[in-house]
């Protein structure tokens, strides 16, 4: 149970059987080596998502911005009605929105059905760590490649490799504005051959300069942490190192490009180190080396991982041990995961059911609990939006909160309860669950126990059990004179169980 609550999106009947058959230890090891786990069925299910097979350039070519499509058809892009009108003229599959729908659908399908569950959990964790948001400019065209090429291949490797892949990725360069950051006073006009006219757009830009956004979040959110001992001066110097790290035609090509002439060639001083003048693109690589090997980074990442997999306030001793593992292994992420999963803290009573599910974890675990499948259609996506976690759209660079407090509130609870009722009543089209069959048991209590086992995969607390028995108790026509009683309605019981306080925890 516990490993499936933490290393997976909750237990499903199939995954429970798998863990029982393999043994917990072997299952965990197999999850740490996802290539050893066959996942053909899910991959085949994703094959028809066209936009996910394309390169960023192909996506930019295929899905033209709505504003442009509107203008071409004589519509006012600012008019709120334009979207609806465009949909009447064009199939959804031609609009950029299609990319977002396919991306979210694929994520939901993988989270629900992939046998490489830990990989999906970690992908979500690291995406959130290195968050980018679809609503910022050209990012939506870059997201699929960001996830598949920058993040997914590096989930089990060295942190330095992951950090580097993210730093080079156009999605991050765009989201945190580094592609626009240049040495102070850099003049676009100087790039043109003498006498060549400057395109209007570039002329309007005029002189460029330093943008600190990426440098700041690199230090605060990606590596050292806000208490990692850096200063405002360090932020500026790091920003200088990354000048010129840009994007080749972000709206047409969208690949990494280093622009040597936009780079600040001078000497820099970061965290007490000197980066000699003339390093060019290597300046940025130096910084990434420095940050990935820094003890503050080790502690920051150790705490975040412990918070994700153990408790909102993880034991400091464990965090310290994980940080040491990180440093001793030169940032080998699998070594840190292994230390985490083998720690006594991971297996402690406090850790069991000790965390509150995020909306994504709640929704997916509900579908899995009932052995369900999903096509990732709009109703499930909308449900997540309503619960406060619209996927790929976390605007701030911190991503979604990992701890319970922001998610536990009256409004969110009501939305979760309504989701549980809708799911078990079959009112989430495109997501199918199989309800446990009604059972004829010797008593209502035994009947309820059987249903609860099939849904929650664990015992009910005494209070919950008593409450449920009252809630689904028999009315006047439910017991015949000969003593035969109407079986409980499995949909109703399942709805109550998935909406119960127990099921909000993991």
């Amino acid at each position: 149970m516990h490993v499936l609550n933490r290393l997976a999106y909750g237990p499903s009947p199939a995954s429970l059987a798998e863990v029982q058959k393999m043994g917990v230890e072997a299952w965990v090891l197999s999850q740490l080596h996802p290539d050893s786990v066959d996942d053909q069925r899910v991959e085949a299910k994703l094959a028809h998502f066209r936009s996910l097979q394309m390169t960023t350039a192909e996506r930019l070519n295929t899905y033209e911005p709505e504003g442009k499509l509107a203008k071409e058809r004589g519509l006012d892009p600012q008019d709120p009605e334009t979207r609806a009108k465009l949909l009447e003229m064009l199939p959804l599959s031609a609009l950029p929105r299609q990319m977002g729908l396919e991306l979210v659908a694929a994520k939901l399908i993988r989270a629900t059905e992939s046998r490489r569950q830990l990989q999906e959990v970690l992908l979500d964790f690291w995406f959130n760590h290195f968050n980018v948001a679809a609503q910022k400019g050209a990012v939506r065209w870059m997201l699929a490649s960001y996830e598949q090429e920058a993040l997914r291949p590096h989930l089990f490797g060295s942190f330095r490799a992951l950090l580097g892949a993210v730093a080079h990725d156009p999605a991050m360069l765009f989201y945190l504005d580094n592609w626009t950051s240049t040495r102070e006073g850099f003049d676009m006009a100087a790039l043109r051959p003498a006498g060549a006219p400057l395109p209007k757009k570039l002329a309007a830009v005029g002189k460029l300069g330093l943008n600190e956004n990426y440098a700041r979040e690199l230090l605060e959110l990606h590596t050292l942490g806000v208490d990692g001992g850096y200063t405002q001066a360090d932020v500026r110097e790091v920003a200088r190192c990354f000048t010129g790290w840009g994007i080749e035609k972000p709206r047409q090509v969208g690949t990494f490009a280093f622009h040597p002439r936009a780079h600040d060639p001078g000497e820099k001083h970061v965290l007490g180190r000197t980066i000699p003048a003339g390093g060019g693109m290597e300046d940025g690589e130096h910084i990434l080396d420095l940050l990935a090997a820094h003890p503050a980074t080790a502690h920051f990442l150790a705490r975040k991982l412990a918070q994700k997999f153990i408790a909102d306030e993880p034991p400091p001793a464990l965090v310290e041990r994980l940080a040491q593992t990180y440093l001793a292994s030169h940032g080998d992420l699998t070594a840190v995961y292994l230390a985490l999963f083998q720690s006594p803290e991971f297996w402690s009573d406090q850790a069991f059911n000790g965390k509150t599910k995020t909306p994504l974890e709640f929704a997916v675990s509900a579908v899995r609990a009932l052995g369900g499948i999903t096509y990732g259609d709009a109703p499930l996506i909308k449900a997540l939006d309503g619960m406060g976690e619209p996927l790929y759209r976390a605007q701030p660079p911190t991503g979604w909160p990992e701890v319970a407090a922001p998610w536990v509130n009256a409004g969110a609870l009501v939305t979760r309860i309504n989701f549980a009722l809708a799911l078990t009543a079959g009112r989430i089209p495109g997501t199918e669950v199989s309800l446990p069959p009604g059972v004829h048991a010797s008593s209502p209590g035994a009947e309820l126990d059987a249903l609860a086992r099939a849904v929650l995969h664990q015992q009910l607390s005494e209070t919950t059990r008593a409450t449920l028995l009252r809630a689904v108790g028999h009315g006047e026509n439910d017991v015949m004179p000969d003593g035969e009683t109407r079986p409980m309605d499995p949909a109703m019981v399942a709805g109550l169980l998935l909406g119960s306080p127990e099921f909000q925890r993991q």
Binding site: P80, D177, T180, S181, E184, F186, V205, G206, K207, L208, G209, L210, N211, E212, N213, R216, E220, V226, D227, Q232, V235, T356, G386, G388, Q395, P396, P397, P401, A404, A405, P406, W407, V408, N409, A410, G411, A412, L413, V414, T415, I417, N418, L421, A422, A425, S461, T463, T464, A466, T467, L468, R470, A471, G495, L496, S500, P501, E502, Q504, R505
Partner: protein, 409 residues
């Protein structure tokens, strides 16, 4: 703290008033609520997340250094095409906020300029945290300043909607021991299906996890109150028309709660999109669009409430301002002081409060940001004194004794 909610539940249930809701409550109960609130006003806090550029919100059009620092972003002087709306000799209002001009003219809107938190940071998240915990520099503070205020006040008997966050999650300012609910919108706030409410209410009453139990209790009380008063159906008054933006919806729901007389004391809500590093724009453009959303929503709210606005005070704030000089991308980077707005009851408006020291020399912090001349907590303290009247402000903002601003008289 712990005994109160149970008493209240018992009271509501045993009198059957839970089904009536306070919107239609008998006179004696309404009077009781009025007495308990003791003439307190409702405080509405709008947080602009991302670091709103105070120098564009309320541009110092009378300061030549403003035009020197912002060759492409500065708002033209009042009277010019796309120019700022004149407030006084030094300041103008961004033209996209034009719908707020009537409130300025009738004295219900005030501006505080160069407000910020000393010793804060240029990190969005730290700065927001410090604004919301009310303890700059101190990260260990668990509860928010609004919640600490509520902890000091006697709890009214109908408290389900006493403190409401009109947004998906409870902001730091409202987190803490006192009860507060977060609701994305009133129209989706109900449980589908018959009998569901009772069953789930019982389930959550027995939850092992304390947070689940108390949140459940808050949720079910609020659900009953909302359903019985048909809150989500209540139309705007006085010919107010709200736009289709998230902030407009949230303020419309706020007005509904105010009108329903459900004992509303605090509303916290937010609006994003202020982190204008690139292409900030001037009279039109990115920031202007956000400001129009903000101004139109606030203006509709004021109109909707009409005379009731006298009992409601809105404070608009952000985590920090932006650099005085524009950056290389026609945007601005994270800075220090920004502007705040106060609208509604008790506000001595039609004035820009502050101690303007110009945009060169002493007016600059670290030679790049607008320096702080007024501590955000001074403004918040005065707003609290004018609305909720917590007996011990020193416990709301520990270790703080800022100068008086006087914008509430």
């Amino acid at each position: 703290m712990s005994a109160h909610p149970l008493d209240r539940r018992f009271f509501l249930k045993s009198t059957g008033l839970a089904l009536l809701g306070l919107g239609f409550a008998p006179g004696f109960l309404r009077r009781a609520v009025a007495q308990e609130t003791n003439g307190r006003r409702t405080l509405v806090l709008v947080f602009l997340r991302g670091g709103a550029d105070g120098l564009s919100l309320v541009p110092p059009v009378g300061d030549a250094a403003y035009y020197a620092a912002r060759p492409t972003l500065a708002l033209p002087r009042p009277g010019a095409d796309g120019g700022a709306l004149k407030l006084d000799a030094t300041f103008g209002l961004h033209p996209a906020l034009s719908s707020l001009l009537p409130s300025w003219q009738d004295g219900s809107l005030a501006v505080v300029h160069a407000a910020g938190l000393h010793g804060a940071t240029r990190s969005h998240f730290d700065a927001q945290d410090f604004c919301e915990t009310g303890t700059p520099g101190l990260k260990t503070t668990q509860d928010g300043w609004l919640n600490r205020t509520l902890q000091q006040l006697p709890e009214p008997s109908a408290g389900a909607f006493r403190a409401v966050a009109l947004q998906g999650t409870l902001p730091r300012s409202l987190q803490g021991a006192a009860q507060a609910v977060a609701v994305e919108g009133l129209n989706s706030f109900h449980i589908s299906g018959k009998g569901g409410l009772d069953s789930f209410e019982a389930l959550y009453a027995g939850a092992v996890d304390q947070a689940m139990r108390s949140t459940g209790q808050e949720a079910f009380e609020a659900l009953r109150a909302a359903a019985s008063a048909e809150l989500s159906q209540s139309p705007p008054q006085n010919g107010a028309v709200y736009g289709k933006t998230p902030l407009a919806r949230r303020l419309q729901d706020t007005a509904r709660l105010v009108r329903a007389g459900v004992g509303l004391e605090v509303v916290a809500t937010e609006m994003g999109g202020w982190d204008t590093h690139v292409g900030e724009g001037g009279s039109t453009g990115q920031l202007a669009n956000r400001l129009r959303e903000l101004g139109d929503a606030l203006a509709a709210f004021a109109k909707d409430l009409g005379p009731r606005l006298a009992n409601v005070t809105v404070v608009v704030m952000t985590e920090f301002g932006r650099t005085v000089r524009e950056n290389g991308n026609r945007g601005t980077d994270h800075g220090t002081a920004s502007a705040m707005l106060a609208l509604g009851g008790g506000v001595h408006g039609g004035r820009v409060y502050g101690n303007w020291r110009g945009l060169d020399g002493p007016g600059l912090f670290e030679n790049r940001d607008l320096a702080i001349t007024i501590d955000v907590r001074s403004v918040l303290s005065e707003a609290l004194r004018a609305t909720l009247r917590p007996p011990d402000l020193a416990a709301v903002f520990p270790d703080f004794s800022g100068a008086r601003v006087g914008l509430f008289g």
